[in-house]
């Protein structure tokens, strides 16, 4: 039976709480064998692809100064490009962290939602109300406006 754990899946697959002690915990890790193999295969394929032109590509000799310049529509490059950019992008990143972390909190709740019933739903309503208040706040303060 141990041979097929994690590969066959289905109803026979043990859950974390179903396993006993050490062996139970490792049975869950068996699920990730497929992920590991996919990672290994994916690394080989993508690395081979990305380095393909470095190995098989043409190579030009001679003066490279102009060719290596970054493309700025034909004008001579005016120095390093990593300058300042709009602070709005920074605000979006901050808002993302706030909202995305709250979304992650909702996933465990969504699974056990039926067992929790009405009390669990009211608790989540409170949580969403706080989240919604935050959204209205940043909206009214103009953090979402682009002009």
């Amino acid at each position: 039976m141990r041979e097929t754990i994690g590969i066959t899946g289905g109803a026979a697959r043990p859950r974390l709480r179903g396993g006993t002690g050490f062996a139970g915990a490792f049975a869950v890790l068996d699920q990730y064998i497929g992920v590991l193999i996919t990672f290994a295969l994916g690394t080989v394929i993508v690395l081979g692809m990305v380095s393909g032109s470095m190995i098989f590509g043409a190579r030009s000799k001679g003066r490279r100064a102009v060719k290596d310049e970054v493309f700025e529509c034909g004008n001579p490059s005016s120095g390093p490009a990593r300058g300042r950019f709009s602070v709005h992008f920074y605000l979006v990143a901050i808002l993302f962290i706030v909202f995305d972390v709250e979304v992650v909190f909702m996933y465990p709740w969504a699974i056990v939602f039926r067992q929790l019933g009405v009390p669990g739903f009211i608790e989540m309503l409170t949580f969403v109300a706080v989240l919604g208040f935050g959204l209205v706040y940043v909206w009214r303060r103009g953090a979402l406006a682009w002009d």
Partner: protein
């Protein structure tokens, strides 16, 4: 964990990776020919083989001639670029997208010699979380590509891409919560199996019937995540040259192109699994078709499995083609419109969808 089990997992992983890669390549061809059809032109139809004569190789143009051409291009790294990050960016753009498919089931169980093989590379309990985690890693490819190139166009494209992708990730995550509430699990094979029955014996109980709004939000957010028209501001060829991959050439540039199409395949695969019954064929059960009215057509086990895999592939392909149709039908949004759509429309809508789903489930009991 025996060697046989590992071997089976390796075969499945290889098959799924090939499915995604090949479907991406075929989609590139569909996009070229499809866009030509929509715009009333002929489209790419010549390949110059060894400089002899232009031949019309059809699909082979895209599948063989283009990769060879890109492979033999010079690999350019612009002056002042961060060489390591410049190399890493295309890798990080493609790799997370490819491995995402490990959690998506492409069929039910295949029984060979008494051993059941689950047609899913990794039967994860937390399948949806794995998919979301991996697909959001692809942002690094965009940001690093923009940053490492030392080009103004690339930097602007990279930053635009990052802000856009993280904005739509919230709406996408919230839309999926509605679906998770309806199914009560994150295990994608369990979700696929839960869509096997029929309402009133005729309507397949696919997720889109429980969660139509979630599907709509997911699809819009998904197209935005793949950075395609009408949300292609990170690339925006008419304003940013080529956006975050302006300074890439050869296979590295091809990797970025591939990541766009592979992302479309992943979005389509996820949408098919959660909202269109995954590998389910209407009225097909493990022993054959059970049509309404009591007509039963018995089928051998292998035929059922093949039908399921074909059904999944066709659903994914149809959703990909739909994305391509959207791409060649709609004009590009302005950047403030893109951000408004994500934050001011989709996010509140997804929250409302979640609450309505909760109220319905609570009141049904």
């Amino acid at each position: 964990m025996g060697l046989i089990a590992v071997g089976i997992a390796a075969v499945k992983a290889f098959a799924v990776l090939m499915l995604v890669l090949n479907m991406s390549a075929v989609l590139l061809w569909v996009e070229r020919k499809g866009s030509a059809l929509i715009q009333d032109r002929i489209g790419a139809n010549r390949a110059n083989v060894f400089g002899v004569m232009p031949l019309n190789l059809g699909l082979l143009n895209t599948l063989v001639a283009d990769p060879i051409k890109l492979l033999t291009k010079e690999d350019m790294v612009p002056a002042g670029a961060d060489k390591l990050l410049h190399f890493l960016a295309p890798f990080l753009a493609v790799f997370p997208v490819l491995v995402t498919f490990a959690a998506i089931p492409f069929g039910d169980e295949l029984v060979i010699g008494g051993q059941a093989i689950n047609l899913q590379v990794a039967a994860l309990d937390i399948g949806i979380l794995y998919v979301l985690a991996m697909s959001s890693l692809a942002i690094y490819g965009v940001v690093l590509g923009g940053w490492a190139s030392n080009s103004r166009w690339a930097l602007l494209g990279g930053i635009r891409g990052a802000a856009q992708m993280i904005s739509y990730e919230i709406a996408m995550g919230l839309a999926l919560i509605g679906a998770v509430m309806a199914f009560g699990t994150l295990d994608m094979q369990a979700i696929a199996r839960a869509q096997g029955h029929h309402f009133f014996g005729v309507i397949p109980a696919w997720g889109v019937i429980y969660q139509p709004l979630a599907f709509l939000i997911f699809l819009i957010a998904g197209i935005a995540e793949t950075k395609r028209v009408p949300f292609d501001l990170p690339e925006g060829e008419s304003e940013l040259v080529s956006g975050y991959f302006t300074e890439y050439s050869g296979m590295k540039q091809a990797a970025f192109m591939l990541s766009d199409f592979a992302e479309s395949v992943v979005v389509a695969g996820l949408a098919a699994t959660l909202f269109f019954g995954a590998w389910q064929v209407p009225f097909l059960f493990r022993d054959g078709f059970h049509f309404p009215g009591g007509v039963i057509v018995a089928l051998p086990h292998l035929a059922v499995v093949v039908l399921q895999i074909v059904s999944f592939t066709l659903k994914v392909f149809a959703l990909c083609v739909f994305q391509i149709l959207v791409r060649w039908t709609l004009p590009r949004y302005r950047y403030d419109q893109v951000m408004d759509l994500g934050w001011k429309y989709l996010l509140p809508l997804a929250l409302a969808n979640m609450l309505v789903t909760g109220i319905v489930i609570v009141s049904i009991g």
